[in-house]
């Protein structure tokens, strides 16, 4: 949802004259929505601004985003950060990969998802100011 949300916000800002760049780790979602400028990090979700406890990586990631912002020649410009999460790409096989889950784990996750949905619904109906 995060990637869809920021993509929709980027589009709205651009349509109103404010240039944007999206930083994120879910390439297909951002490109499917359609945004003007996107710095893609091929990292696990949760690391759109660089590696944890690695200032060099964080500064490089921001600098790349700034360069995408100032140099994109046309909408749907995606640049992929050259940083690699791991030499071994096997981490990419895990996220929400139904083929890797046993039936009992699937049942557990469904129950947990339903529980969290109920919690979210209660907050949404009675939103609290988060200023």
């Amino acid at each position: 949802m995060c990637h869809q949300t920021v993509s929709l916000v980027a589009r709205h800002l651009e349509a109103n004259g404010i240039p944007t760049v999206v930083m994120g780790c879910a390439k297909d979602i951002v490109e499917y929505v359609g945004v003007p400028r996107f710095l893609f990090s091929d990292f696990p979700l949760g690391n759109p601004a660089g590696r944890s406890r690695d200032r060099e990586s964080q500064d490089l990631t921001l600098e790349l985003a700034l360069r995408v912002l100032e140099t994109a020649p046309a909408p749907r410009t995606t640049v992929q950060s050259p940083l690699r999460w791991r030499d071994n790409p096997d981490w990419k096989l895990d996220f929400s990969n139904i083929e890797r889950l046993l039936p009992e784990e699937i049942a557990r996750r469904r129950a947990e998802f339903d529980r969290q949905k109920e919690i979210a619904k209660k907050i949404r109906v009675k939103p609290e100011a988060a200023e």
Binding site: M1, H3, Q4, T5, V6, L8, V9, A10, R11, H12, E14, N16, I18, T20, M23, A26, I29, Y32, V33, G34, P36, F40, D42, P44, L45, G46, N47, P48, A49, G50, R51, S52, R53, Q58, D59, L62, E63, L66, E70, A74, R76, P89, W91, D94, F95, S96, N97, I98, I106, E112, F113, Q116, K117, A120, I123, R124, P127, A129, A130, E131
Partner: protein, 180 residues
């Protein structure tokens, strides 16, 4: 070994960006939730040219991370998905102050990410460094939090206009939007 594997240095098939749309669709269908989620999707993309050099521009940061709420359960590194920590209205914070923003309310990769350093999802410190170095004209006085809502109507009709209003108020020239 097929011919394509012979010394060309090709990467493994799965060493490509994760196909999230497909994964998420299959995941929720197998869990038993009928019709797949309809993601926002557009053929046309708006494009606002950058009007002046970044060294003269005021940049605003937009995040989907959430302010830490101590009374809302575990939001620490490795915490399970915690819907209680979600927020459903746009919020803003002082860009010059320190903030404790968390991501336990969203579906980040809990198997491969520690979520222990907010600088890896909320680049306000990096943005300040870039401004100090003269790379940017400045950081907008506030950053803004965008609620991650399944409802397109809420995002498009309520949250997007509210974010635009606040960003105009701050007289920002360009925006960096960071998705967790």
């Amino acid at each position: 070994m097929s011919e394509s594997d012979e010394g060309f240095g090709f990467a493994p098939d799965h060493d490509a960006p994760i196909p999230y749309l497909l994964r998420i669709r299959d995941y929720y269908q197998t869990l038993g939730y009928g019709a797949p989620y309809r993601w926002a999707h557009y053929a046309e993309v708006p494009f606002a040219p950058v009007a002046k050099p970044l060294a003269e521009s005021r940049i605003v940061l937009v995040t989907t991370a959430a302010p830490y709420q101590p009374d809302k359960g575990d939001q620490g590194p490795g915490a399970a998905y915690n819907a209680a920590a979600k927020f459903y209205t746009v919020y803003s914070g002082d860009s010059t102050a320190e903030h404790d923003l968390r991501i336990a309310h969203v579906g980040y990769d809990r198997a491969h990410t520690t979520a222990e350093d907010s600088d890896s999802w909320f680049p306000l410190p990096a943005l300040r460094r870039a401004a100090t170095a003269g790379r940017l004209g400045g950081v907008a006085p506030r950053f803004h939090g965008a609620p991650t809502n399944r409802s397109h109507r809420t995002t498009l009709d309520t949250d997007c206009p509210e974010l635009l209003r606040r960003i105009r108020e701050d007289k920002a020239d360009a925006a960096i939007l960071v998705a967790v």
